[in-house]
C-alpha cells in the first residue's frame, strides 16, 4: 500500500518562509551579544510579516519551525538556549494570537513587533527563572532587558513595515 502525502500551497509557503527565518536566525547567532538573552531578534521580522500577510496560524508554524530547525543547525537542540528560545516563541505566539483578535483596524507590524519582543523576553525570562536560576535576584536584569526589547521591538517593527509595503498584497491571497 502506498501512502500519498499531499502538500498544498500553504505548506510550501510555510516551508519557504520558515527557511528564510531560519537563515536570519543562523546568521544572527554569529553576532556577539553583550548580555545573555539579548539578540536583535531579526528573525522575528519574518514572523511578524507572515502574521500581517498570511494570518496567525502560519506565523505560529513559521515561528516554531524556525526555533526547532535553527537549534538543530546551531547544535543547541534541547539545550538551555533552545528551551529559552522555545518558551520565548510560545509566549510570542500566544500574545500575537490575542493581539490579532483586536477589533477595528487592529495593530500594524510595529505594534505586533513590539508586543512580540516584550512577550519573547518575558517568556524566556520566566523559563530561565523557573528552570535555571531560581533566584529572585535574576529579576533585577529584567527591566534592563525589557528596555532593550522595547527599543528593538519598535525598530524591527519599522523594518517589517517597510518590507510589507513593498509586497503586493494580491500575491499573498490564498489560492
Amino acid at each position: 500500500m502506498q501512502i500519498k502525502i499531499l502538500s498544498d500551497r500553504t505548506d510550501h509557503l510555510v516551508a519557504w518562509l520558515a527557511a528564510l527565518a531560519i537563515m536570519i536566525h543562523v546568521i544572527e547567532s554569529a553576532i556577539p551579544s553583550i548580555l545573555p538573552g539579548l539578540k536583535p531578534g531579526l528573525a522575528n521580522i519574518i514572523t511578524i510579516a507572515v502574521l500581517v500577510l498570511f494570518g496567525w496560524s502560519m506565523a505560529a508554524w513559521v515561528s516554531l519551525l524556525r526555533v526547532l530547525v535553527g537549534s538543530l543547525l546551531l547544535g543547541t537542540f534541547l539545550s538551555p538556549t533552545f528551551l529559552m528560545s522555545f518558551s520565548g516563541a510560545i509566549a510570542t505566539i500566544l500574545v500575537l494570537w490575542l493581539a490579532s483578535k483586536v477589533p477595528g483596524k487592529g495593530f500594524s507590524a510595529i505594534g505586533f513587533s513590539l508586543l512580540a519582543a516584550m512577550a519573547h523576553m518575558t517568556g524566556q525570562f520566566t523559563c530561565a527563572w523557573l528552570l535555571f536560576i531560581p533566584h529572585s535576584g535574576l529579576w533585577h536584569l529584567y527591566p534592563v532587558l525589557m528596555t532593550v526589547a522595547v527599543i528593538l521591538g519598535i525598530i524591527n517593527g519599522i523594518i517589517c513595515q517597510k518590507i510589507i509595503d513593498k509586497i503586493d498584497p494580491e500575491s499573498c491571497k490564498k489560492s
Partner: protein, 119 residues
C-alpha cells in the same frame, strides 16, 4: 501606524519605569537584629536605640554596636577580624557572622529582600 500601535507603545513606555521602580526599589531598613551566640541562644535586639551588646562566643565576648538603625561588630576576640571589617549592616534580610567566635547576626523587619543568600 494605527491607533492600537500608538497605545501599545504608550503602555510599553509606561511599563518600563514601573518595572525599574518595582524591581530596583531600594532595600527596606531592618527594625531588629536576631543574634545567635555560640550556645544557639537567640537574642533579639531592636535597632532603634543606640547601645552596646556583649555576646558570649566560643572564644570570648563579641561586642556589638547599634546606632541609627545599624549594627556592627565593634570588638571581637577572633584572629582575622573579618566580622569587624564587614562594617555596618542596616537592610532587612542581611546576615553577618563571626565564624571563629560562632556569633551570627541576622537582620529582620519590614519586607526582607532575600530569604537566603548563597556564596
Amino acid at each position: 501606524m494605527t491607533r492600537s500601535d500608538t497605545l501599545a507603545i504608550f503602555f510599553a513606555l509606561i511599563l518600563l519605569p514601573l518595572l525599574y521602580y518595582q524591581l530596583w526599589r531600594p532595600q527596606t531598613s531592618a527594625t531588629h537584629a536576631s543574634i545567635i551566640d555560640s550556645h544557639q541562644h537567640i537574642t533579639v535586639a531592636s535597632l532603634e536605640d543606640a547601645k552596646r551588646l556583649n555576646i558570649r562566643g566560643e572564644l570570648g565576648d563579641s561586642v556589638l554596636n547599634i546606632e541609627d538603625g545599624k549594627i556592627r561588630f565593634a570588638q571581637s576576640p577572633c584572629k582575622g577580624k573579618v566580622c569587624i571589617h564587614r562594617g555596618w549592616l542596616q537592610y532587612s534580610g542581611e546576615v553577618m557572622a563571626c565564624l571563629p567566635n560562632k556569633v551570627i547576626i541576622k537582620l529582620g523587619g519590614g519586607q526582607a529582600r532575600f530569604d537566603s543568600i548563597n556564596f
